[in-house]
Amino acid sequence: MAALTDSVFILVVVIDLFLLASSRLNAAIRAVAIQGALLSLLPVLIATSAHHPAHTLLLAGGALLVKAVVIPWLLFRAIREAAIRREMEPIIGFVPSMILGAVGIALAFVFARGLPLPIEEQHAFLVPTSLATVWTGLLLVVARKKAVTQVMGFLVLENGVFVFGLLLTGIMPTMVEAGVLLDLFVAVFVMGIVMFHINREFSSLDTAKLSALKD
């Protein structure tokens, strides 16, 4: 079971690297969906006897629904409406993004070594995976021009935070976790609506066009 959990973490990081490298939006959205599906497996894999089975299944099911089904569907609709297929000429190129991502992953492992987990259950790869995914999300938001990719970066960042939250399923009440998932869904929904307006106003989802306001 531990080997399977470790493989899931490693796969999550490999998907992060793929997202940094890919320019085709279809492939990227599918990769985010797969990452969401993998993350929804994790509560079940990490659960010990101390956790409520109903609670764990609810969290896993909710994460699967929101991260792997609903949000990718919203994103597919957004790119269909805007008729965009690729991210051309990002602010930070694909090869430098990949290299920065790799550096971030290495640093995540280094930092995780300096932050020992104070709880009994030790998952060696959890903190590095979480930090690496947060870093990837930040890179995607900063380095890309298309609004859809920026929303995907936000999603990946939230995925990283979710991974970390798995350590705390014993402490945090269900209400807060449900609130977190709901907030994510509503945030992406609102972003989708704003993207629709951006597309209508500017006839493009390229945020380089959103540069009229300056000091």
Partner: protein, 475 residues
């Protein structure tokens, strides 16, 4: 009662979204503001017990933030009656609904005793206000709304990670294993120091983004510049105050865990940086609403410096948060009036506002004097307390820089404001934009309150500031 003041605005928001008539919705907004204010007044009269299983409770910090914000919201709701009637061509369903949800979310932040609930409420303030920035429905408003939404959501996501770090700090078998503020503070020394420090960093970045501290302030000029006046007042006077409350709660936990020194140094550094950045960009600003945004960055810096120094300066910071909230109301509402009357927000297009709008023009000038710390308005006394606290603590460099930035900002902002207000009107007034009681009354009332707080601060209220400071940073 606590649950009442959180839930009632939500129900009224649902009502507002359901009503079809554009002219009936502002009344719902006013009803919500009045009910909320009455609820807060009841809390002053009879202190309530904790509610909702301990997730909501009223302490001194929440009390002062909620009181200031409910007065601000009431003023804005009265202003909205006239404003929405003038803008009756726009559908105000989302506007009214969003404002009421914002009120509920802000109340929840003030009352929250659980860091997770507090986070959810702050996220709700972002989500409920982002669509409202787009009220004017032009390309620049859309750009501002997108930047606001993305940057603040990023910050909030990082704040969630920080909250998780704090929860993990307490997750060892002999730790508190909860995110309740009281539990975390009570078992402070048992928390894992490394995780508390890491958590503080992420929470400072996250809630600092919401406050608009430099270098996380990039959304502020755009958002405040393009939003309608009411929204600007509530964002800069209400939401940032509650983000400051959230940061203070985090500081409470840090102090209990013994990571105080690190946290306070970080707060002072970011505060001074914000003031410096605001000073640089305030000079020669060409859009007076963006100028108010930079003023907001400056004042969040002042609050951060006060909290970081602690003691008397922290009491001054909490006093300042109240004064700042009310004065921002004066500034944004009167700026909105001026914008509407001249048809432009650019400084080069506006001259002689005092002559054209006999109430809003002088109010804008008075608001400028208040916010830059001119006696006898209350911000003077609160900033004086902060500087006093800094000198008393031996932080001469900090106090010196503080005063220097205040001076630069006074000169920079003053040049712009005096240019706007004095002289002969540069253009005839746009039709139907004269000062009425609904449009100029609320900012006037807020200004009188700021003056009153400066001249005759009731001892009860002064004691409230000191006890809030004691709660957060110790006496």
């Amino acid at each position: 009662m606590l649950v009442f003041i959180v839930v009632v605005p939500l129900c009224l928001a649902a009502l507002a979204l359901a009503i079809r008539d554009n002219r009936a919705r502002p009344v719902v907004l006013l009803a919500g503001a009045v009910l909320h204010a009455l609820g807060i007044a009841a809390l002053w009269v009879r202190p309530p017990d904790a509610a909702a299983g301990g997730y909501l409770a009223l302490d001194d910090l929440g009390k002062l933030a909620l009181s200031a914000t409910t007065i601000l919201f009431l003023a804005c709701a009265v202003y909205a009656q006239g404003y929405l009637r003038r803008r009756s061509d726009h559908d105000n369903r989302i506007f009214v609904g969003g404002l009421l949800v914002l009120l509920s979310a802000m109340t929840a932040v003030g009352l929250a005793q659980h860091l997770g609930v507090m986070w959810v409420a702050i996220e709700l303030t972002t989500l409920s206000t982002a669509p409202l920035i787009y009220f004017n429905k032009n390309a620049r408003a859309l750009e501002a709304a997108w930047k606001y939404l993305l940057v603040c959501s990023l910050g909030i996501a990082l704040a969630l990670l920080g909250t998780f770090f704090l929860a993990l700090a307490g997750a060892s078998p002999d730790g508190p294993r909860s995110l309740f503020l009281s539990d975390l503070v009570a078992s402070g020394p048992l928390l894992s120091k490394a995780w508390v420090r890491a958590g503080f960093v992420f929470l400072l970045v996250g809630y600092g983004t919401k406050m608009g501290l430099a270098p996380l302030h990039s959304w502020k000029p755009d958002a405040y510049g393009e939003a309608p006046g009411i929204l600007g007042a509530l964002l800069s006077g209400g939401v940032t105050t509650f983000a400051f409350v959230a940061l203070s709660r985090v500081q409470q936990v840090c102090r209990a865990a013994g990571e105080d020194a690190f946290a306070r140094d970080a707060l002072v550094a970011m505060g001074l940086l914000s003031m410096a950045v605001a000073a640089v960009f305030m000079v020669g600003q060409r859009d007076f609403k963006r100028m108010l945004a930079w003023s907001s960055v400056e004042h969040m810096g002042i609050l951060s410096v006060g909290l970081g120094i602690g003691g008397l300066a922290a009491s001054g910071a909490f006093f300042h948060s109240v004064g700042n909230g009310l004065t921002k109301g004066v500034l944004f509402l009167s700026a909105g009036n001026i914008h509407r009357a001249f048809g432009s927000k650019r400084v080069e297009d506006v001259r002689g506002a005092a002559r054209l709008l006999p109430l809003s023009g002088p109010l804008f000038l008075a608001g400028f004097l208040a916010i830059t710390g001119t006696p006898p308005f209350s911000p003077f006394f609160s900033e004086f307390m902060i500087v006093n606290g800094a000198f008393g603590d031996g932080r001469f460099v900090v106090a010196g820089l503080f005063l220097l930035f205040l001076a630069v900002i006074f000169v920079g902002m003053g040049a712009t404001v005096l240019k706007l207000v004095q002289g002969d009107p540069s253009a005839p007034r746009q039709p139907d934009t004269q000062d009425t009681w609904l449009s100029a009354g609320p900012p006037l009332a807020l200004l009188l309150l700021v003056l009153l707080l400066g001249l005759f601060l009731p001892r009860e209220v002064a004691r409230l500031f000191a006890s809030a400071a004691a709660l957060v940073v110790g006496s």
